[in-house]
């Protein structure tokens, strides 16, 4: 069920987990908008490094990278990624990068 949210003059369509509906809607304001609900106070270079890596990978491969690839490419340990994005690489970082919701098996 898509809902519309507005932030700094931009309108985003989001799903029930708060992911934007399509990558085309992504813009830096989105990151600004989501950070609070993701438990992030200040965006640092580290956050952007992860976000850009996810976006590059997504544009090349059409899917989000596996966690192992993310840690390898960025050089961050998984624990450090959780320190940057408290709700984790899937829920936090992918959401902020505007990637589609990771489909996981429970």
């Amino acid at each position: 069920m898509a809902q519309k949210v507005e932030f700094k003059g931009k309108v985003f369509e989001v799903d029930e987990d708060g992911f934007i509906q399509s990558f085309d809607q992504w813009c830096p304001e989105w990151v600004e908008f989501v950070k609070q609900s993701e438990g992030i106070e200040e965006l640092t270079e580290g956050h952007w490094k992860v976000i850009h890596m996810l976006q590059d990978y997504y544009q090349k491969h059409g899917i989000a990278p596996m966690v192992r690839i993310l840690t390898k490419v960025t050089g961050y340990k998984l624990k450090e990624i959780y320190e940057l994005f408290p709700s984790g690489p899937g829920k936090g970082a992918c959401k902020m990068a505007g990637l589609p919701k990771p489909t996981g098996c429970v």
Binding site: E16, M66, V67, R68, L78, Y82, G88, G104, V106
Partner: protein
């Protein structure tokens, strides 16, 4: 109070002789509107013959990547109280020992902040809290950790909550302290448990003896099953008491009446390796032939006991069918002493995980990776020596692919010299 939804098809499930989850949910539905909607949604699914839960959903608590499974229904217009109905997995205490006080508190927390419905226990072993909304996840997590000292369990591509049989707490056959090992694995691998980093799920299950009460061999990527390497301990007097009808066979599991045990038919002939003999007075066991099936011990628990030099057999690779068919674990370490601090075992586990994380494809279980890249590769990375006991189906395929490094001269042959000795 009348319920909002009529559920004639779901109600049929209450008509059989067994207790029904429908009756349980109805009882709660009188005061929990989400339980009412839950039954209504199920009735709709029965009518439409299709599910009304959306696939997936990604919710969680800060700091953890697992433990919460997002659930949303696709008819929130009709069933607004189950629009969100997320599941939490809670790490059960080893062997599932609780005090009633803990259970009462858990029920209070969940009735206040969730649907009040539980599964005791899910198939991984966790306590499953069924149904709450996104805004209640952090409060429930806070209460669990601060009031009960409980933690979330594993979900997603991570280490799932390790589980074990009742072990030495109540069972004389246990060859290792299953609870201690389970606790050790849980604490040592907190990162792997809460922050998904694997290609797919990974399960440890610990059984104290080859009866394997947690079915580790069928359900765990790494099964730890207690065993012994000396001899079955025999109390000949007690054997004679069973034969003489003074003791109840099978520990009373197949009837409590005392009767003389037909030891030949019920024990000796049932031994899979025929390694036992009864001469009318004494029982003889050729322990070197014993495959630890536990049958004789189960039939005559007062007379026979596992040996004293105890440890565990480590098996890997069990899984349910997803990519490949269902598979049982197979032996990789025939015997390992299992005593704190379990260093040898940790070392093995970490080597195994490194290899799996490096080479495993997305959603590929360890057992499937071993199938794909071969047992030889697995043994190489874990530093294990091949052993006949690792052969799963000895008569099936007699060919062994040696590693060229293990063969003098590798695969290179001097064909010219060969032809000098052999005509074409």
């Amino acid at each position: 109070m009348a319920l909002k939804h009529k559920t004639p098809m779901v109600d049929e499930l209450m008509s059989g002789p067994w207790p029904s989850f429908v009756a349980d949910i109805k009882r709660l539905a009188e005061r929990k509107p989400q339980c009412d909607d839950l039954l209504g949604l199920l009735e709709l699914s029965y009518r439409d013959k299709e599910g009304h839960w959306k696939h997936g959903g990604i919710v969680g608590v800060f700091g953890y990547g697992g433990g919460v499974i997002g659930r949303y229904c696709d008819r929130p217009d009709l069933f607004p109280n189950v629009a969100h109905f997320h599941t939490l997995r809670v790490n059960q205490p080893a062997s599932k020992f609780y005090t009633t006080d803990v259970l009462r508190k858990l029920c209070d927390i969940w009735e206040e902040k969730g649907s009040g419905l539980f599964n005791f226990h899910g198939s991984t072993g966790d306590i499953i809290l069924l149904g709450t909304t996104t805004d209640q996840l952090e409060p429930v997590f806070y209460d669990l950790t601060h009031e009960l000292g409980m933690d979330l369990g594993g979900s997603g591509s991570n280490l799932r909550t390790p589980s074990c049989c009742v072990g030495r707490a109540r069972c004389e056959w246990s060859c290792l302290d299953t609870q201690d090992l389970t606790y050790d694995l849980t604490m040592r691998y907190q990162d792997e448990l809460h922050r998904p980093m694997f290609p797919y799920k990974f399960k440890f299950k610990v059984s104290g003896c080859p009866n394997d009460c947690v079915a580790a061999i069928a359900r765990a990527d790494c099964s730890i099953i207690g065993t012994w390497r000396d001899n079955i301990r025999i109390d000949q007097e007690a054997v004679r008491a069973y034969v003489g009808g003074e003791l109840v066979p099978n520990g009373g599991a197949h009837g409590f009446e005392k009767r003389p045990l037909d030891i030949q038919a019920e024990v000796i002939d049932k031994c899979p390796t025929k390694c036992m003999e009864w001469d009318g007075k004494n029982l003889k066991i050729w322990d070197e032939e014993c495959v630890r099936c536990m049958h004789c011990i189960n039939v005559m628990p007062r007379a026979l006991r596992p040996g004293e030099d105890v440890g565990a057999t480590i098996l890997v690779g069990a899984k349910a069918p997803i990519l490949e068919g269902a598979q049982l674990s197979s032996v990789v370490i025939p015997f390992m002493k299992m005593e704190p601090p379990y260093e040898e075992f940790h070392e093995f586990v970490e080597k195994m995980w490194d290899w799996w994380m490096e080479h495993g494809k997305n959603r590929e279980r360890l057992g499937e990776l071993i199938q794909r890249l071969g047992m030889r590769e697995f043994l190489k990375v874990t530093g294990l020596k091949p052993d006949p006991r690792m052969v799963n189906t000895p008569r099936y395929n007699p060919y062994i692919f040696f590693d060229p490094a293990d063969v003098p001269g590798g695969w290179e042959r001097d064909t010219k010299a060969f032809r000098e000795r052999h005509q074409p």
